[in-house]
Amino acid sequence: MEKIKKYSKVIYILWLRQLKRYSRSRARIIGSLAQPVLFLVAMGFGFGPIYQKAGGGNYIQFIAPGIIAMSIIFTAMFGGMEVIYDRQFGFLKETLVAPVPRWTIMLGRTFGGATVSTLQGVAVFLIALIIGFRPENIFIAPLALVYMALVATSFTALGTAIASTMEDMQAFPLVMNFLIMPLFFLSGALFPLTGLPKAIQIIIRVNPLSYGVDGIRGILTGQMHFAYHTDFFVLFIFTSLALAVGSYLFSKIEV
C-alpha cells in the first residue's frame, strides 16, 4: 500500500513535468498544430470535389478523424523520443538514479506525453469544427477520447522504447520516414479501406493505427471499417505491449 502511494506520486510528478514543459513552449504547440491544419485544408478542400464526385460524400467529414489521429501519433512519438533530449541535457540521469523502479518513471513520462498528445488531438478536433467538420452526434463524440487516449499512450510508449535504444537524434529521420510516415499513410486516415489491393489491405490490418483511426472515425462520423470492440481490443493489446516493451527497454538504459 505504502509502495503504491509512493509510486503513484512519482508517476504523477513526471506526468506533471511533461505537461509543464509542454504548456511552456508555445512555439511547439503552434508548430505541431500547423501540420495537421495544412493537411486538413489542403487535402480536405483539394480532394473534396473528386471524392464527392466518386460518391464518397464530404471529404472533410472523412479525413478530419484521420488528421486528428495523425496529430496524436506525431506528437506522441516526438514526446516519447524526448528521452533522447533528456539524455543529452543530462536530466535523464537524475530520473534514472531515483529510488523507485524505472518502470514508474517510464509510465509517468508516457502518461504525460500521452495527455499532451490527446490534448493536441482535441485541439485539431476544434479546428476541424471551424473548417466545417460536423460530428454525427455531439453527445457521443467525447467517447472518441477513449480511442484517442489509447493511440496517444501506445505511440508515446513506442517512441520511448525506440528512444531508449538511441544515443542521439541522428537516427531520428529514419524513424520518421520508415515508421511514422508509413504508419500514418497506410492507416486509412486519408482514404477508405474498401476495394484496395490485397497487399495494402494486409499492411493496413497489421498497422495498429488503422484501428485507432477507425474507432475515432466511427464515433465521430458513424463510418466504420472494423467494429468498435475490435478497434478497442486491438488498441488495448497494442498499448499494453508497447508499455511493457517500453518499460523494459527504458529500465535497461545506461548512460
Binding site: K20, L96, V100, E167
Partner: protein
C-alpha cells in the same frame, strides 16, 4: 561495517579498459575521497555504483545490495551530485528541487524547509522562481548541489562537487556535508581535483589511475608512504606528472566511435 564493498571490479568499453580489477571498501559513516587524474576511471566507477552502468565483471555491494541484481534497493540507499549537468532547463529552480523531493519521497514539510535552507546556502533564493535555462553555468552548478543534498540518504556520492565554485560556496557546502555526515551518520564518497579539500575533509583516500587503485589510506598515511609534505605532492608521486587526455569524454568519444564502426 562496510557500506561500500568492491571486489575485482572491471569495466570494459569494447577494447578500452576503463576500470581494471579494483577492490576496496568504505566504512559506514566515513568521508571517503576518490582521487585520480582525468580519465582514471572515477566517474565510470561511480556510475557502476549508482546503477547507471553495468560492470563487465566483479562484484559491488552498496549498503549490502548488488546494483546489478537489486538495483531498486541500491537506488533507495544513495544520493548523488553528478559531475555534468542534470537539471531540467524548462523548469524553475524551485520546481527542480520540488521534483527531486517528490521523487525521493521527502515529506512535504521537511521538503519545503530544506529547499529554503539549501537555496540560501547556494545563494539562489531570489532566483527561485526563474527558469533554469536563464541561469549561468555557476548558478546551475549551485542549484544542482542544493538538489543533491535535499534528501538525506545513507550514502552520498559527489562527483567533483566543488568544481567551479567560489571559495565561499565551497565552504558552505562542505560545512553542510560535514554536518550531515556527523549528525546523521551519512557516508560521503566524493571525487575531487582539489587535493587540499581531500586532505582536510576525508577520513580515507583511494587513488585511482589508469583504472587501477594505486594507493589507499588516510591522507597522513599517503604522505608518509611517499615522503611528501602535502597530499598534492603525494598524489603527483603516485600518479606521475604527465598530463592526461580529457578523461571521461575521451572514453565516451571512443565508445561512440566504436559503436559507429559496429553499425
Amino acid at each position: 561495517m562496510n557500506i561500500i564493498e568492491v571486489k575485482n571490479l572491471v569495466k570494459k568499453f569494447d577494447d578500452i579498459i576503463a576500470v581494471d580489477d579494483i577492490s576496496f571498501s568504505v566504512e559506514k559513516g566515513k568521508i571517503f575521497a576518490f582521487l585520480g587524474p582525468n580519465g582514471a576511471g572515477k566517474t565510470t566507477t561511480i556510475k557502476m555504483f549508482t546503477t547507471l552502468l553495468q560492470p563487465t565483471s566483479g562484484k559491488i555491494l552498496i549498503n549490502g545490495f548488488d546494483p546489478v541484481t537489486n538495483s531498486d534497493d541500491v537506488r533507495c540507499s544513495f544520493g548523488i551530485i553528478f559531475q555534468d549537468p542534470s537539471l531540467d532547463d524548462e523548469l524553475t529552480a524551485f520546481e527542480n528541487l520540488e521534483f527531486h523531493g517528490v521523487l525521493y519521497d521527502v515529506p512535504k514539510k521537511i521538503r519545503r524547509e530544506r529547499i529554503n535552507e539549501l537555496l540560501k546556502i547556494v545563494e539562489l533564493e531570489s532566483r527561485k522562481n526563474d527558469l533554469v535555462k536563464e541561469f549561468s553555468g555557476g548558478m546551475k552548478r549551485r542549484l544542482e548541489i542544493a538538489r543533491g543534498l535535499l534528501h538525506h540518504p545513507k550514502i552520498i556520492f559527489l562527483d567533483e562537487p566543488t568544481l567551479g565554485l567560489d571559495p565561499q560556496t565551497r565552504n558552505h557546502l562542505w560545512s553542510y556535508i560535514k554536518d550531515m555526515n556527523e549528525k546523521e551518520d551519512i557516508t560521503v564518497f566524493f571525487s575531487t581535483h582539489y587535493m587540499e579539500e581531500a586532505d582536510r575533509m576525508s577520513d580515507r583516500i583511494a587513488i585511482i589511475d589508469n583504472g587501477k587503485i594505486v594507493a589507499e589510506g588516510s591522507a597522513e598515511e599517503l604522505k608518509t608512504k611517499t615522503a611528501s609534505a602535502t597530499l598534492e605532492d603525494a598524489f603527483l608521486k603516485l600518479t606521475g606528472k604527465a598530463i592526461r587526455e580529457e578523461g571521461a569524454n575521451a572514453v565516451d568519444k571512443l565508445r561512440k566511435m566504436s559503436r559507429l564502426w559496429r553499425r
